[in-house]
């Protein structure tokens, strides 16, 4: 029951977007978000929105999966619109009823902000849908490398992410085993109120934590036995390489952003 949880939300494929270097994708996603915050007019947003749709189409990821990323922010979206519509006092008065005053400025402002949020989430969704967690980790390590001189442990963070990714399925499997063992001894994980159910998880969590620490200890020993001593002097087996595709992508991105910001 726990084993079929998918890792992240990577959707494997061989589309143009999948084949881009993860560093390019990460960089462009950041730049895209910045452009989103600089842009102000509806026209700019239309261009940026169309660009997003084009990328989604190119990625060949089912639209339904991309839209799934919006579900967690539905609340924030509606709150943004509602707050702006009812509290803003800019523009022409549209509705005046009892204590409710709605102005045109509020309506446009609210929807513009909501649209901005939607595009922001869509672009990051496309990034995580088309980039495997491992590739993403590599890209993040490269992105953080310049911050090393300020004490940011880029390699160590990437190594931690890799190990976390590696052990999520193993720990899930173990959790299921412990759960069955406790069920066999009469444990009850399902009934009762929230507090009772939270309490009933303790006999699952305590053995899981103890075993996780033991694993960490053994893994550390195994890593040291294989000469691991941090990022210093380490070489890479799979080196990220830019291709012509990345150049095209960046060029198109620059053109589209320039057009969007000029409008």
């Amino acid at each position: 029951m726990l084993a079929n949880v998918t890792l992240g939300q990577y959707f494997p494929g061989a589309s143009v977007v999948h084949r881009l270097d993860p560093r390019t994708k990460l960089g462009m996603s950041f730049a895209y978000i910045m452009v989103l915050f600089i842009a102000t007019s509806w026209l700019s947003y239309s261009v940026l929105g169309l660009a997003s749709l084009l990328v989604i189409w190119l990625s060949q990821v089912p639209v339904k999966m991309v839209l799934r990323g919006l579900r967690p922010i539905l609340m924030i979206l509606s709150l943004t619109v509602v707050l702006h519509v009812f509290t803003s006092r800019e523009g022409v008065e549209l509705v005046s009823f009892w204590f409710v005053r709605i102005y045109s400025g509020g309506v446009t402002q609210g929807f513009l902000l909501a649209f901005r949020l939607v595009l922001l989430v869509l672009s990051t969704s496309v990034l995580t849908l088309t980039t495997s967690p491992i590739a993403l980790t590599d890209a993040i390590e490269v992105a953080l490398r310049p911050l090393r001189r300020f004490g940011v442990p880029a390699h160590e963070l990437a190594m931690m992410m890799t190990i976390a990714l590696r052990f999520i399925p193993t720990l899930l499997e173990e959790a299921e085993k412990i759960m069955k063992a406790q069920l066999a001894r009469g444990a009850d994980f399902e009934s009762g109120g929230l507090l009772k159910r939270a309490k009933s998880l303790l006999p699952l969590l305590i053995p899981l934590f103890i075993s996780a620490f033991r694993r960490a200890d053994e893994l550390a020993m195994a890593m040291e036995a294989r000469c691991y001593r941090g990022g210093e002097g380490r070489t890479k087996y799979k080196v990220l390489k830019y291709s012509g595709l990345d150049a095209y992508a960046v060029a198109s991105f620059v053109v589209i952003s320039a057009v969007a910001l000029a409008l």
Binding site: R166, P169, T170, L219, A222, C227, R229, Y237
Partner: protein, 280 residues
């Protein structure tokens, strides 16, 4: 002797210092292992065999005495990484020694740590995976493999570092019979193809009989050492150490006693079958 010793252990003592007193794990061990040898170390739980293994690549350091790996003293901190590269170690739990999320990246982990250039790493990964017969799985995720497959990947990860000595610290203890057979076959293949010097720490006697030399340990000391035929022909001694005689050897002894003309020194099922067929 002309052949250099890979491992030279002199008067090794080890004490675990704990809150509730000290535990004496090793009390004066002298062992030497030559290049190309296949040595099995047997002993019951707490006999000190795993502690001994951890001294071979400086995971533990001697409380007293010396461990020399190709002449390098494990107490010299400057030699630590050359020692660990020389002695490749495979541990008991197959899950807790695979670091990466993809098999070939895990095999590359050791060479990456050593700073091997990228094209050379690719060559080593291919070669190591081929040696343990896991090349078709190179793009798999580790949690989808069986226990035996994971241990073969762990062996490949060690081979990619080009060690002089392969140490398997109860590497088959957590595996099912199929997985155990896979790992043992892999070790035998490495022995015959690459003459890999191997130390096999085990409590399965039918694995120990495959070695050239068996070292039996108890209470932190070497009790007896010799060829499998020599060691396993002392059933009383083995029993006092809490160890079994291999099943085939026991059966052969019983058959001999009841009058079948079988030769001495039968240790494996294959030898027994052979002898039985010839005796007819």
């Amino acid at each position: 002797m002309g052949v250099p010793s890979i491992i030279e252990i002199k008067g090794l003592h080890h004490v675990y210092r704990g809150h509730d007193g000290d535990t004496y794990a090793l009390g004066g061990v002298d062992i030497h292992i030559d290049e190309g040898e296949f040595v099995a170390i047997i002993g019951r739980n707490g006999s000190g065999k795993s502690t001994l293994a951890k001294h071979l690549n400086a995971i533990l350091l001697p409380t007293e005495g010396h461990v020399l790996v190709m002449g390098m003293d494990t107490q010299d901190a400057r030699l630590l990484w050359s020692i660990r590269q020389t002695v490749g170690m495979v541990f008991q739990n197959p899950d807790n020694q695979i670091v990466a999320t993809v098999i070939d990246e895990d095999v590359a982990f050791g060479p990456e740590n050593l700073g091997v250039p990228t094209p050379e790493i690719a060559k080593r990964v291919d070669a190591a995976l081929k040696q343990v017969n896991m090349l078709p799985y190179r793009n798999h995720a580790p949690h989808l493999l069986s226990g035996g497959q994971k241990q073969r990947v762990a062996i490949a990860g060690v081979l990619a570092m080009h060690p002089k000595l392969l140490v398997l610290d109860e590497a088959t203890a957590m595996l099912d019979p199929v997985g155990r057979a896979e790992v043992i076959d892999t070790i035998l293949a490495l022995r015959s193809a690459a003459k890999m010097t191997t130390v096999l720490i085990t409590h399965h006697m039918d694995e120990a009989v495959l070695a050239h030399r068996v070292i039996a340990m108890d209470e932190g000391r070497v009790v007896t050492t010799g060829t499998p035929a020599e060691v396993f022909s002392q059933p009383e001694l083995l029993e006092s150490l809490g160890l079994d005689v291999p099943l085939a050897a026991k059966l052969a002894k019983e058959l001999q006693r009841s009058g079948l003309p079988l030769p001495d020194g039968i240790l494996t099922a294959a030898q027994l079958v052979n002898a039985l067929c010839q005796s007819n």
